[in-house]
Subunit: 157 residues, 2 copies
Amino acid sequence: MTIYRVLAVATALLATGCAPETMDLEAERSALREAAASYHAAATAKNVQQVVALYDETALMVPPNSDLVEGLEGVGNYRFGFIETEGVELSFEILRAEVAQSGDMGWTISLGQITINRPEGPPGRDLVRDFHTWKKQPDGSWKVVVDMWNSGLPAGG
Amino acid sequence: MTIYRVLAVATALLATGCAPETMDLEAERSALREAAASYHAAATAKNVQQVVALYDETALMVPPNSDLVEGLEGVGNYRFGFIETEGVELSFEILRAEVAQSGDMGWTISLGQITINRPEGPPGRDLVRDFHTWKKQPDGSWKVVVDMWNSGLPAGG
């Protein structure tokens, strides 16, 4: 092995070994969208345990016109409107989703069409905007760390 | 120069050149909190230009009970309540702030005490929760990419 051969190997090692860490951002973004879709599926199915399981230990929930809900225990005790209100049907779409270059933080914003079926008369409707920041967990899953929402319909409508 | 010397140099290069990029997360978190504090100062001073200058080109604003506001142009045309409403006084505190490991994304959640001074009678009050995700710009500054807020007081209160 000549010095030139050693240098060639060292150069090759430097070229590959020092390339910026290859985070497959497209895959991360897909994983985040899948996590958001799981949240929507769990809410649509009114499976509160599955919904709660998607929150981070340090979660902060900010319901409109109500106090802050802090930590996973707080989220576990929270009375979700879509569970508590009779006759609710949900339908969500993800509006935008972004992931940090490091793949440890992301956010999603989703639109939720809410229909409230009543025994008589026309159904009630609401349009909710769900804004979530997500934190990648040690096991690679994504969990919600901040959850705020509000309505797109006029107040008192 | 022996082969061993070349290998030693190559090893040293590999060791330093391949160390993970050192991102000073504490400094990034401080910079993000300073950006949030600038936002609060601009809003408190009712300097709408300074407020608008803190939004990203792709900003999405989600006011309660109102349509989505999209892009920097949309934000520039938005009629901020704290400007439009006479007699408003604002006071903010940052509740939590986090930055991604890569330092390109962050979020803040702040509490805003709103006092609405009126010519007669007691002042009106509101408690707003401001939830911002931020995007690091090419020049190193932080700008708001999603802005949602809601009130912590009972609806119609």
